[in-house]
Amino acid sequence: MADATCMGCGCACDDIDVTDAGPTRTCPLGDAWFAARSGDRPPVARLDGRTVSVDEAVDAAAAMLSQARAPLVYGLGQTSCEAQRRAVALAEAIGAVIDVGAAVDAYTSIGSSTATFGEIRDRPGLVVVWRADPAVTHPRLLERLRLDPADVVVVDAQRTATAEAAAGFVELEASGDFEALWALRASIRGDEAGRLDDLAERILAARHVAIIYGAVDELTALALLSVVRDLSRDRHAVTLALRADGNARGAEDVLTWKTGFASAVSFARGFPREAPRVAALLERGEVDAALVVAADPLEELPRLRGLPMVAVDALETATSRAARIAFATAADGIEVPGTVHRMDGVPVPVRAPRAADRPGVEDVLAAIGGRL
């Protein structure tokens, strides 16, 4: 039996034991995460469909990336901060654009009020779950926050699993967020009555308010953060942004401290500059090679197909199958120790309950960097 931290979602549950029979205390997502990284594994390195040595693949990857004039580094959400640091260094070395898929425009515009899990758990009050379904996407979150169903209100287009477990549900069509939130701000200020008056009333009656939200668009995020800011004048109000990937928050944090920018950075001129997002670059044909790390973006970024591509991931994915060069690495959190940033920002160690028989993501990135 060995300690482990699950990277199956942004919760970084660090109370997992791995036994011969499998992991304990995991949720369904965690079970799937461990299972996908156990049993038969793909060959460690593949080049043009052939199984090759790690050395040969590393040489080919280094050659491809150093010959590219406009390389892209993308992904990073499912590997450790240690590997992420290495990926940023590699992006710098090859003059790449690096995009970790973070959404921080609303945060940059006005800031936010946030709290770690323990603060939300230990300061009971009202919890508003805004267009998110943590019962499905982060199955242990509600238990870890010890939420009393009576204190939870879900706002969404339909009754979700989270809504079924909550005392309060407000139905709101998918496109109505910004107007509804602006009206909520007005109700909270007492300016005018709006459709969320009941919610406003409950919020105003609470001494502590936490808003948990999912992958909302930047305008909705801006409105949510504005509401929390208004609320903060008379009560303690915080937000928690859910992250699907096990270390998406870490990717955003690492890129920020190493470059000053949180989402997309270009090293084309040797120093970091803010870059257009990956979708726009691909759309404009401004990428001529890609290194995809610990992510499977092929479906959302179909233009990656056809580009010279290197994939580095513990799993075989659609992206790695489409890549000219693919490394199937040892698994972070199972065979490779490191650090992840839980979605509330808390750094949590991930362990290696199993010995690795192959290089990890960080090793592969370091090897490529060493052959440039």
């Binding site: 300690d3 931290t5 660090d14 109370d15 901060c81 240690e82 640091r85 921080v104 945060y107 940059t108 515009s109 006005i110 800031g111 936010s112 009020s113 946030t114 709290a115 770690t116 899990f117 323990g118 603060e119 758990r121 230990d122 300061r123 870890r144 001494r207 800011r229 903060s232 008379d234 009560r235 303690h236 915080v238 944090d253 690492v254 920020t256 401290w257 190493k258 470059t259 000053g260 920018f261 949180a262 970091p272 803010e274 120790p337 650090t339 940033h341 920002g345 808390v346 750094p347 949590v348 160690p349």
Partner: protein, 526 residues
Amino acid sequence: MLRIAGGRVYDPAHGVAGEVRDVCVQDGKIVADVPADARKIDARGMVVMPGGVDIHAHIAGPKVNAARKLAPEGSIVPSTFDTGHRYALLGYTTVVEAATPPLAARHTLSEIRDTPIIDAACLVLMGNNLPLFELIRTEPARVREAIAWWLRATGGYGVKLVNPGGIEMWKRDNGNVTSLDDEGPGVTPRQVLETIAGAVHDLGLPHPVHVHCNNLGVSGNWRTTLDTLDTLEGRRAHLAHLQFHAYGGRPGGRPRSRAPELAEHINAHPELSADVGQVMFGPAMTMTADAPVSAVLREITHGKWVNADTEAETGCGIVPFTYRERNYVHALQWGIGLELFLLSRDPWRIVLSTDHPNGGSFLSYPRLIRLLMDREFRNEEIRRVNGQAMKRTVLLDDLDREYTLEEIAIITRAGPARLLGLCDKGHLGVGADADITVYDDRADREAMFAAPRYVIKDGRTVVEDGELRATGRAGNLLRVAAEYDPGIEPTLEELFADRYSVQFTSYPVQEPWLLEPARTVAAEPR
């Protein structure tokens, strides 16, 4: 091997003040002599000092990184890469990150590993820690063991108290404490100060308790500051950014300067030291564990605001801010800082800081040095800023004090190194770390200190002719080694269970890649 030949050397720890002599380096250390064929830097006409030591700045960790997200242009809160390089280009080789939330130690340490050149130490936030509060209430004698445990668990160097008790009240109900006897948090700020300062003293940590007093920024807070000092009575203590705690007047009213009274108090108490937290006009980024202060600033700027609560331990507030010459309060803050520098009689106990980036960027240190060294320049500036504010200070009396190069060497390296208990830093004696800065001796002290000619770190030339020559690797993490009774661990594990959302076994940082390379300074228990 290296010989820095013929420079005017300022090594205040050894009473050397401008004598022409050689400084020799071998294997990263200062040595008495090197062979004639050693590499030579011709430093004739130049000024040679130990590398700078910043005793209080915010350079790494979650709150610094949150500020980077708020201000991606990077000029006020640089990336780790730029932070290391810009400090080196300024002749600073050691920097103390002054406020690490212990739960986030891994994050802070990762950033330090990515900060090139400079050595770094972390002060660990302990003034609003709920397990410690419980121990203070029930078993104060064991607080000492708990503090030693926390320092080891976080790779920390020293103990930081920020607004003891006040941040817990903020997280509880947007509240705060206003006096040292406020009972709201379950222990009074006075109990926290007394118990933790006593524990730090008994542990014999190299740096005394580092205190950010209650009531930061509030008119009339100088009385809280004095009360804090009286509570610490006779024990060593370092006061952070004293300027922000030196205001007279009534709460809610216009501040006045009480710098002369506080300078006098510190002059009379050799066990006390302070860094100034000078305000410099222009853009700044306020970032503090003292989150209730940030909520007040938000209502002044109506601009960006970040609040971030850390369970069981601390908070965080960030507000971008601009200090303006014509604004009464800002000009008064600027004036109070200068008063503290000019009225303090013992340069070994007053340290140059802007509380970077709270009072301004560390990049403004050269200008601050000129304000201290050049009376004419200072008086010109005093005439430019808000006159009402200047009338509330003693600066209009044309204080004639001009800091000498020796005194600058004390308040920027020799003094802070000694206050930190870093025996190998801040001086040029045989055996010291070969961290050395060589300046052209220019009449314009701002230009002189803004662009050192050479900077040597651990014997390696990192700046040559004012330009970076070496990049890449980080310096040492400076840690403290303090022994504790392992019997404290089961007690802490119990106190952790209901207060943290990570496992007790996840908490202590043990990963060598986060902790090394390190230099460890041993505590000397009393």
